[in-house]
Structure formats: structure tokens, C-alpha cells
């Protein structure tokens, strides 16, 4: 059981079964690790904003760096109009980042390695951005499917491609994060299994790999959170500043 690399992704119920109108909404280990990630990031920000120091301490510096990092990312990709959505992007980035990082701890559960979690985010972003686009520009928002400067003959084909690419946004966004997380953790587990099965004599090579992979996975954890947030910014930019 322990050697099955997919076992780490199994969801099981913790505590009583909660069922609302026939839907199972029980508290699971996934919910627990969501809660742990949320609690950790709330703790960091609590420590970071507890004191208002002119020269910040470590927690304050970290939270201010996070703030500046996200603020710069939003202003670079989506401009000034995206300012009201700063709290959302900020929450999104640090929540995914913390879920990914908590997932890196041994015996923990990676919330973002589940397609349903990333898909919930992606669909919410997709629907939100689409509604926002129609609110900001009315039916002119459909211009997003008609790039300017394209010959009339090619226009139908291009439009169809644009529509498909637009509709596939939630899928690409969610699968990217989920697949990266799942693949990375599976690899780690597989190499970890090799260390055990090859034992003291042959286990050193997979152990080396495992250490290197852990470093890589920490990088991927950060990078994927960043990519998720920046793509959200780009979609937001399309909705706010219509130009093609």
C-alpha cells in the first residue's frame, strides 16, 4: 500500500459524515490540508501585520514582499484598472502557494494535486472574467474573438480558433497546476520507493535523485502558483482592457 505512488492522493473522510440533500460534503483530509494552509498563511500575515515597524521584522518583511510582488505583477500585466481585484489575486496566489508548499512536507496531502480543486478555481475565474468582460464592454466584448488586421477570408477560421482557445482556458489553467503537482509528487514517491527497495547498497542513486527532485518540486510549487496567478491577471487584462 505504501509503495503505491497514487495512494498519497487518496481522499478519505475525517470525522462525521455530512450530507446535505443527498450530496456528500464530509470533512476530508483534503479539507484539513486546505485549512492548515489557510491557517499557516493567516498566521504569517498575522505576524507580519501585528507590529507596524518602520524597519520590518522577518514576518513583516515577508508579507510586504508578497504584497509588492503581487502588486507589481498585477500592474505589469493588467494595468491600473485591475486594482479592485488585487485582494482576489493576492489570496489566490498565496493560497495556491501555501497549498503547494504544505504538500511538499512528507506525509502531507497536496490539495492542488486534485483536478476538482484547480478546476473550481479555473471555472470561477473563467466565469468571473467573462461576466466582467460583458459588464465592462457589453457585446463589444465579443470582439475578443475577432482579431484586427486579419484578412476577411481567414476571419471565420481565426474566430473559431479564438473561441476554442477562449473556452479551453479553464481546462488548460486547471490541468497545468493539477498535472504538475501530481506528476511531481508521484515522481518523488516513486524515487522514495526505489530508495527503500534498493536498500543500503543501491539506494543512494535514487536518494540523490529524490533530493534533487525535492528542490525542483519546491521551485515548481512556487512557479505554478505564480503561473496560475499571472494567467489570471492576463485573462483579467483581456476583460478589462479590450484590445486586439
Amino acid at each position: 500500500m505504501a509503495t503505491n505512488p497514487m495512494h498519497q492522493f487518496k481522499v478519505h473522510r475525517i470525522g462525521p459524515e455530512i450530507e446535505i440533500s443527498g450530496v456528500d460534503l464530509s470533512f476530508t483530509n483534503a479539507s484539513l490540508f486546505m485549512l492548515i494552509s489557510a491557517a499557516l498563511l493567516a498566521l504569517l500575515l498575522l505576524l507580519g501585520t501585528r507590529e507596524k515597524k518602520l524597519i520590518p521584522n522577518k514576518a513583516q518583511l515577508l508579507s510586504e514582499m508578497l504584497y509588492n510582488f503581487i502588486a507589481k505583477m498585477i500592474s505589469d500585466t493588467a494595468g491600473k484598472k485591475a486594482k479592485p481585484y488585487f485582494p482576489f489575486i493576492f489570496s489566490l496566489f498565496i493560497f495556491i502557494l501555501f497549498c503547494n508548499m504544505v504538500g511538499m512536507l512528507p506525509y502531507s496531502f497536496t490539495v492542488t494535486s486534485h483536478i476538482i480543486v484547480t478546476l473550481t478555481f479555473a471555472i470561477f475565474i473563467f466565469i468571473g472574467v467573462t461576466i466582467l468582460g460583458f459588464i465592462m464592454h457589453g457585446f463589444k466584448y465579443l470582439k475578443i474573438f475577432v482579431p484586427s488586421g486579419v484578412p476577411i477570408v481567414l476571419l471565420p477560421i481565426i474566430s473559431i480558433i479564438e473561441i476554442i482557445s477562449y473556452l479551453s482556458r479553464p481546462i488548460s489553467l486547471s490541468v497545468r497546476l493539477f498535472a504538475n503537482m501530481m506528476a511531481g509528487h508521484t515522481m518523488l514517491k516513486v524515487f522514495g520507493g526505489f530508495v527503500i527497495s534498493l536498500g543500503l547498497i543501491g539506494g543512494w542513486l535514487p536518494l540523490t535523485f529524490s533530493v534533487a527532485l525535492t528542490g525542483l518540486e519546491i521551485l515548481v510549487a512556487f512557479l505554478q502558483a505564480y503561473v496560475f496567478a499571472i494567467l489570471t491577471c492576463i485573462y483579467l487584462n483581456d476583460a478589462l482592457n479590450l484590445h486586439h
Binding site: V23, E64, F88, S113, I115, I116, T120, T186
Partner: protein, 189 residues
């Protein structure tokens, strides 16, 4: 992406060993999808509210406060610098003025001294000239007086000699004439 392909190859190769119920990925088992989505929405919403209402305003306030403080400090530093420059300028002006004044005092004094020396020189010269004239006059006077005295003495000597040789007083007027004649001849010689 590369990782993903490696995983796919790997998972298909070991897929046969897994039980049918747990086959493939637990992610695709819809049993807890609703639960995961439900808890995600609850937890993420609460995080969003926490961020938007508490933490982000706090961080922003702090950053703004720091920026304001830095700006204020910079402004203060600028005013101080300007003030210092002003002070430096007044100080330089002061020194310049003092230099000019001292130069003026120096040249004034020199001029006054020169004038003083000049007037004193002139005065001295006048005095010296006066003294010289007085001395010359005295010499002249003495000269003329001495001539008379010589004549008197000569006359006395002549009359005395006459008396001593001839035993009688000579004629005074003739003696006088003779003496003057002899003196005249002597001075002419």
C-alpha cells in the same frame, strides 16, 4: 510537462498492478468532488475576506506610512540642505565683506599714514629751512660782528703798541684809518 509524460508512461506501466476500484488516479473518483469544492469555496472565501478586510489594508497602510515617512524625511533633508547652503552663502558673504573691509581699512590707513608722513616731512623741511636760515643769519651776524671786533682789537693793539713804543697816545682817527686800510689790503690779498 516532461514530468507529466514520464508519469503517464509510468502509471500505464504499473496500472495493471492496481486494484480495479483504485485504478489510475484517485483524483478522478467523483466521490468527494462536491466535498472538496464545497470546502475549497468556504475556506478560500474566508481567506479572501480576511485578506481584503484585514491584512491587505494593514500591509498597505504600513507601506504607505513608510513611504510617507521616507518622503517627509527626504523633504526635511532637502530643506535642511537648502538652509545649510543659505547659511554657507551668508557666511561666505560675510567673509568676503570682511575681506573687503579689511582691505579698505588697510588702504585707508596706508593713505593716511602716507599723508601724515608727507605733511610731517614738509613741516620738518620747513623747520629745517628756518633753522638753516636762522643759523646762516647768526653766522652772518657773527661774521660782521667779528669784523668789527677785529677792527676794534686791532685798533686797541695799535694804540697800545704806539703808546708802548713812543710813549704817547696816537691820533685815534688816523689809527682807525690805517687799520682799516691795512685790513682792506689784507682781505684783498
Amino acid at each position: 510537462m516532461k514530468n507529466f509524460f514520464i508519469f503517464l508512461i509510468f502509471s500505464t506501466s504499473i496500472g495493471g498492478n492496481l486494484g480495479a476500484a483504485e485504478a489510475g488516479m484517485p483524483q478522478l473518483d467523483p466521490k468527494y468532488w462536491a466535498s472538496q469544492a464545497f470546502w475549497l469555496i468556504i475556506i478560500f472565501s474566508s481567506i479572501y475576506i480576511l485578506m481584503a478586510k484585514i491584512f491587505i489594508p494593514k500591509i498597505k497602510d504600513n507601506l504607505d506610512a513608510r513611504e510617507n515617512k521616507i518622503r517627509k524625511d527626504l523633504e526635511e533633508a532637502k530643506t535642511f540642505k537648502e538652509e545649510a547652503e543659505k547659511k554657507l552663502k551668508t557666511y561666505q558673504d560675510l567673509i568676503e565683506n570682511a575681506k573687503l573691509e579689511s582691505k579698505k581699512i588697510l588702504s585707508d590707513n596706508r593713505q593716511r599714514l602716507n599723508e601724515d608722513i608727507q605733511t610731517k616731512k614738509v613741516k620738518m623741511q620747513k623747520e629745517i629751512e628756518k633753522e638753516i636760515i636762522a643759523a646762516e643769519n647768526e653766522v652772518k651776524k657773527f661774521k660782521s660782528e667779528s669784523g668789527k671786533k677785529i677792527i676794534n682789537i686791532s685798533e686797541d693793539i695799535v694804540s697800545y703798541l704806539l703808546k708802548d713804543i713812543f710813549g704817547e697816545d696816537g691820533n685815534q682817527s688816523s689809527i682807525k684809518a690805517t687799520v682799516s686800510e691795512v685790513l682792506k689790503r689784507e682781505t684783498e690779498k
